[in-house]
Amino acid sequence: MPTLIPSSEDVRVYEFAVMVKPDLDQKAESTLLSEVEALFTEASGKLLFKDSWSKRGLAYKIGGYMEAKFIIYYFELDPSKVREIDHQLRLQKGVLRHLMVIPPKGYEAVSYEAKYEDWLKNRETIAQVRTRKREEKMQQTVVSQAKRTSKRLETKVKEEVKKPLQMHELDKQLDKLISDDDLKL
């Protein structure tokens, strides 16, 4: 995957995410994409990386569709021409929505679709998460209980050691007091 570095100081790297209708046939889709790409080439943009995703479910309805296709372009463009492209994309039929983002310096373009699909396969179900959390909690309680009992035992041992000593000393002190001659009771 390429790291995106602009070739000269006059241009910047832009990321365009284009959301395309899902029910277009292949021919219509290819013509649409060529039209979209023509917008960039007209503005003398240079394609750095293209990432087209397959059909993907949406979280809510957009333009009456619950599914859409995403195509992500990374273009090198003159900043003054971006506004026009943004406007043209909005007018383009077949494009549901688009988003323009300036990626940070040294951004590495990565295809996120594979990552997403991998995650969909390997993610934990809600029940698995619940059992895992319960087990973690159990382990924590066991550890804290063990700590508490060990502390209690330690304090008990200390007290047992202390008590006879104190009694012994008390006896001695009492003897001293009693044996004192000045004491008048």
């Binding site: 995410a17 959301m19 993907r56 949406l58 979280a59 809510y60 957009i62 859409a68 995403f70 992500i72 929505r97 988003l99 983002v101 990626p103 940070p104 951004y107 990565v110 996120y112 990552k115 997403y116 995650w119 993610r123």
Partner: protein, 78 residues
């Protein structure tokens, strides 16, 4: 008269930011798996009090989540 002893409130343990440890510099709105845990059941962004994210990363997260919402990858409201 001695001053009354003030009872100390129990402070909650401050969690360390998971992104500070890794040194994350940018959140991608296309990266669904990393954004997902910071969204609750209703689609709201989780408070950083609960997730432990630092303010800098919370702001970046918010930015990415709002972009993802615009493109229908995340829900505004469930």
């Amino acid at each position: 008269m001695p001053a009354p002893v003030q009872q100390k409130a129990k402070y909650h343990e401050k969690k360390s930011c998971p992104f500070d440890r890794e040194g994350v510099a940018y959140f991608d709105y296309k990266d669904y798996p990393t954004l997902k845990p910071f969204i609750d059941y209703f689609g709201n962004i989780r408070n950083r009090y609960y997730t432990g994210v630092c303010l800098k990363h919370q702001k970046m997260l918010k930015n990415a989540i709002e972009r993802a919402r615009f493109l229908g990858m995340l829900a505004y409201r469930k």
